[in-house]
Symmetry: C2
Subunit: 730 residues, 2 copies
């Protein structure tokens, strides 16, 4: 784990503000004011050559003049001044710099170069940099306000357990204001801007270790270093800190490797989706969901189990809640018969299965509410309870009753998630939150929070299982370094691979392939076919012909030697006439495979995120329905099984309409091996696709009938994605 | 149109309250108090044998004692007293009754009978009834409070343009409170309870004609009379009043006719979905969406076009808005080049395509905001504009600026939908709403409102098109009455139809079928096959065998007379041995059809909603993916085309992967004819399914290869759904 320690950055004992000013309109005035106002207890050094004092603190003409340790220097200066300031910072032994200055990579090529030069100089001097072009950060608990965002001036947030990190300053400021409006206390708030050095992943990793942070909210627009992001999410997961992310920009399918069919189906965003799921981060889709989930986690924590109870005073809204819960695949478990009887004893007309509807009778007997809730949390053991009270819950008496219930139930059933749904004003919401409970006007929002909780519980179960997978970074470490892997599997031979080459390479890595024979003459074709056993299929072998069928390069169902000879002649003729410039390596004779269900398997290097493994359904459905699922390598056997289950057409593999169930285990094993192969190949692999990959009936295995393997030219690869290929940086 | 006139009900000039009381704890006390407090200007007659005065009004011992016209009697009495009260009401010439009393159909069989008896007596006397087991209603503009819901006591709603009708009292009361919290003024509020007489549809129809109502919100749990619901939605649409519905209970697939495969795929809820779409009602899924959409309609009305502009001060949130808008299929149209140049002239770094990002520069130059909005509404002509302001929008100065913008823009661009997204307190929200604009913290909620607006604009376009379809009720009227339709298409022969019968019946109604020959002997089989032309398919003919393939009753690809003779023998043997009790009507010889894309067409009578027409994709996908879409008959050609487009596998019909495009027009025409056939057959039809229905390449038509037709036994049908079959009640 190479994630940096940012403590001196985020909890500095001394802060110098370069560009500090007494003129309130200047951005350099803001952090000094915030630090003083909020009572930062470290040293504050305003840097301004033309002032003696700023905000009552002695001002210094330069960083060098401070002559004391400076943990953090805030650069509230124009881009044109940063180089000189960096000279001073290096001379003064500054450890960290936060750079508000705009005018760098966001401005184009020239700015990008200036940014890179600055970052390189800082790095050489051992200085960490946040920004440029960011709003800075706050460590709320320590009163560190290294930001000029005006949002703080409109009201400071309380100190709390939620850490927010945002690439976007505008979004960060909005999130800060929203947290304040909700009464959601913050531990740290960081905007990363251009990320010349410190990125979102570094901040997540720091928060994972920060004792004040219990819940992490991250907003991303992109990611330059997938490995670091994955490591940081693993750190947070290991620390038991849920991460809620918003990642904007669901790009169109098809921004990827062109020649491969896999690529045409893959989307960056789907890969991000897989990454978050794989590393335990919950991806929220809207700002409201982002905050509802994080707020719920901060207030109530994770419930002890996934079972959900729904309690209502309105039958209709009970159905609505059940609909929502079913859509979210929540476990709405029925109450035990004895528990149902207990409720019926008091409310003869109650529905008691789950949802439990105690009907309008509750208006006459309000104590029914807590009594029923206790049965659901106690006898039924529901980990979460959603209580819909309609307008009835908004009366003053019922507000007090809910507060009392919240305290009593959280006391007697520690850790249970209890959400009320009624109209609640801000005071009522805060009172319930203080007792560890939530309140939403719309029960659908409560169900969404419950669904996120269930996601995190599942992730916990996965990580805590005794036979849990090896952490993915250890799997990398255990792999032979490609450089010294002359005999072990390692980098691929660069250059064109025809189908036979591709299949053999895959077979060498334990991936099952169709028995085949490579032939270059009529006699060889016949001999090969006879040794494989008729019927056979025959295909032209050429790395230059991608769509073999289209040029007449494929003949199926060849039944005897004569047909084989004829097919051989036909294929060579067709290939020569349709693709006169293609290099023909002969033909591939393969055993015909009958039955089974066709899939597509693939793997490719994503420039930012690493090796992406793909499983899609076969035939036209993969393209027609986008029926495809992704994981980042390495994929363990459980993840591979999960991928199979995620296909929209998964039921086809389970024995659909009287067909025998397929050998899903062989398919999952092949996914695992393909993932290993792709990782081992490192940056020599561009993409590989097995299409079709046939899954035979259970016990009979699965095998690739065709394969396309593309390698990457070495030079380009190293330059374009240095951080991603195991051979260069792992 | 048979929808009743409820004016004397909902705008009564005199109200008697049976069970009126001075004791505040009694529900009979509540409506009197509400009426007096809110200044109802009609006559109020408290009915109580033991009181002289109630709430300062003279009390009467009975309805008979009033001796003046009584438009409305409120029954705030137990179920045991309603019969006597009804006697009095009939004697007193009461026109309408609202019945709070519980203890009727919701209690089981006995209550159901009591309710039916009461309803029948009231009907015979010409009295309309709301309830029983309801919370009553309010006509807010006229200060009619015929309700005992305590929600009114906690604060009355303002008079406004939104009508709310709810089957559920608890949901109704909650909706009332939510409207109040949002400052959403109401015209009428009605809960329908057990619907012994007046139902949600009646109330929608009344609101469609009520001048005070501009927007209708309806909450349903079910529907007893699909025709009335459809008529009422058409009325509202014709009146230009958008209807937003919540319908709870998305039931499992398969509550329908058992023997038919179609039925197994149909879901009541999917049919409701189709009904709402078909009749222009927007179905909201959550309570929040229900109110956001209705509120938006009430405040801003429908924008003049579907084009949407997205304006942001944060690039990242701009992407988020674009993602949401793309998911909702909004028309995010690019700005004209000249308009983009105008923005660039002021903000060199702006993104100007759409979303338009005017960047942080706006904090220094706030007037940029209105200038850009004017370009988007003016030069770009966007009908709707969403403006994301991040935290910046929440400062006091920016709040004022937004209010000024709201007024100026709505003044200069009348009818445009303008939604701000920032943090806004209640006062700010009300101020913007007063100017006809909206504000949401989460831009995703704004996009959802815009999507609903787009739905309503599309519906308007459909209805207002010069070649718009005949209103569905006119289509019914134009149809020959089945009773006197001895020669015209009419009711089906009741009883078993084998495949040949079914195909012939469909062909007689203009639905294309495969050329076939029905044969009963070896020679006949051969002759038939020769006249059709080889190759042919052969199937056992028996109304008793549903799955012909499973019993060996189907042989395909018969190439000559010998094969035909052998197939005939084989099929008869197989049928007799696998289904010894089945009645065998010979075999069906049909021409083999090659190519094309297979679909499933079907129609069935839904017990509540009428004739449902289904289109599904062929093969396994219909079941595997639930790839099926519905409409209620009659289906016109445009709706039929729309159905084709709604299939998940629609692209298969459009010429997928080099295949020729299919004859979609022939498919759509067949849907229209099937819909006509099913309507004409009326209650004699249970269900019909054409599977496969093959759509050939464009210009070559489409045809049914197989058909299953189930008729309904006459007696049962008439008893179970009298209101639905054209032959009985249309």
């Amino acid at each position: 784990m190479t994630l940096p320690d940012l403590d001196s950055f985020l909890s500095p004992r001394s802060i110098a503000i370069v560009g500090a000013s007494s003129s309130p309109a200047k951005i350099g005035a803001v952090p000094v004011r915030y630090l003083v106002e909020h009572g930062y207890d470290g040293a504050i050094y305003p840097i301004n050559a033309r002032a003696d004092q700023i905000e009552g603190r002695r001002a210094y003409p330069s960083l060098r003049a401070v002559e004391a340790p400076i943990d953090l220097a805030v650069f509230a200066i124009p881009a044109s001044s940063v180089d000189a300031a960096l000279d001073d910072a290096i001379a003064a032994g500054v450890k960290n710099i936060v750079m508000f200055s705009a005018g760098f990579a966001e401005m184009g090529k020239e700015g990008e170069q200036a940014q890179a030069a600055f970052a390189a100089r800082a790095k050489a001097a051992g200085i960490r940099v946040l920004g440029p072009n960011c709003l800075g950060f706050m460590n709320v608990a320590r009163a560190v306000y290294a930001t000029f965002s005006p949002v703080v001036a409109t009201g400071a947030n309380e100190s709390g357990c939620v850490g927010i990190v945002s690439q976007s300053g505008a979004f960060g400021a909005y999130a800060y204001a929203m947290a304040r409006e909700r009464g959601l206390g913050l531990s740290a708030w960081i905007t990363t801007g251009n990320e010349s050095d410190i990125g979102v992943a570094d901040c997540i990793a720091w928060m994972a270790r920060d004792p004040a942070t219990r819940v992490i909210m991250a907003y991303l627009e992109g990611c330059k270093d997938g490995r670091k992001l994955r490591d940081s999410l693993d750190l947070a997961q290991a620390a038991g800190k849920p991460v809620v992310v918003v990642k904007v920009g669901r790009t169109e399918l098809g921004a990827l490797t062109a020649a491969s069919h896999t690529a045409a189906l893959a989307g960056d965003d789907a890969v991000f989706d897989a990454l978050f799921r794989q590393h335990g981060a919950y991806r929220a889709r809207t700002i409201e969901e982002f905050f509802d989930v994080a707020h719920g986690l901060a207030v109530a924590g994770l419930p002890p189990n996934k079972q959900v109870g729904l309690l209502t005073v309105s039958g209709g809204v009970g159905v609505m809640m059940a609909d929502e819960a079913a859509d979210a695949a929540l476990e709405v478990t029925a109450l035990p018969v004895a528990a149902q009887a207990m409720i019926h004893a008091r409310v003869p007309l109650a529905a008691t299965h789950n949802p439990v509807d105690i009907t309008g009778q509750v208006t006459a007997e309000p104590d029914l509410l807590e009594a029923t809730a206790r049965i659901m949390l106690g006898e039924a053991g529901h980990g979460s309870l959603l209580i819909f009270l309609a307008a009835f819950g908004a009366t003053p008496a019922m507000r007090i009753l809910q507060q009392q219930m919240a305290q009593a139930l959280r006391n007697d059933f520690p850790g249970r998630l209890i959400i009320f749904s009624t109209l609640a004003d801000t005071a009522q919401q805060r009172a319930l939150e203080a007792a560890g409970c939530l309140s939403f006007t719309d029960p659908a929002r409560a169900v969404r929070v419950m669904a996120a909780m269930q996601f995190f519980i599942r992730q916990q179960e996965r990580v805590n299982r005794p036979d849990a997978e090896t952490p993915w970074s250890d799997a990398f470490a255990a792999m032979p370094a490609p450089e010294d892997a002359s005999t072990a599997p390692g980098p691929l031979r660069r250059g064109a691979h025809n189908e036979a080459d591709a299949l053999r390479t895959l077979a060498a890595h334990g991936i099952p392939i169709v028995p085949f024979h490579r032939a270059n003459s009529r006699d060889d074709v016949i001999a090969g076919a006879q040794s494989l056993g008729f019927p056979v299929a025959m295909k032209v072998l050429s790395a230059d012909i991608t769509h073999k069928s289209d040029v007449g390069g494929v003949v199926l169902n060849i039944h005897d030697a004569d047909e084989a000879a004829a097919a051989y002649a036909r294929i060579l003729d067709a290939a020569r006439s349709f693709a006169p410039n293609a290099r023909i390596d002969g033909v591939l004779v393969a055993r015909m495979v009958r039955g089974g269900v066709e899939c597509i398997l693939g793997a490719r290097r994503d420039p930012a995120l690493g090796v992406v493994v793909m499983l899609g359904s076969g035939g036209v459905t993969v393209e027609l329905l986008g029926d495809v699922t992704f994981r980042l390598a390495p994929v363990d056997i459980d993840q591979a099984r999960a991928m199979v289950g995620e296909l929209k057409t998964a039921r086809l593999l389970q024995g659909f309409r009287g067909k025998p169930p397929c050998d899903v285990e062989a398919l999952a094993e092949a996914i695992v091996r393909l993932s290993r192969f792709a990782l081992t190949a490192g940056d020599s692999l561009e993409s590989v696709e097995l299409n079709p990959f046939v899954v035979l009936p259970a016990g009979q295995g699965a095998l690739a009938l065709d394969a396309v393997l593309l390698t990457a030219p070495p030079a380009t690869t190293n330059a374009s994605s240095p951080a991603l290929a195991p051979s260069t940086s792992f």
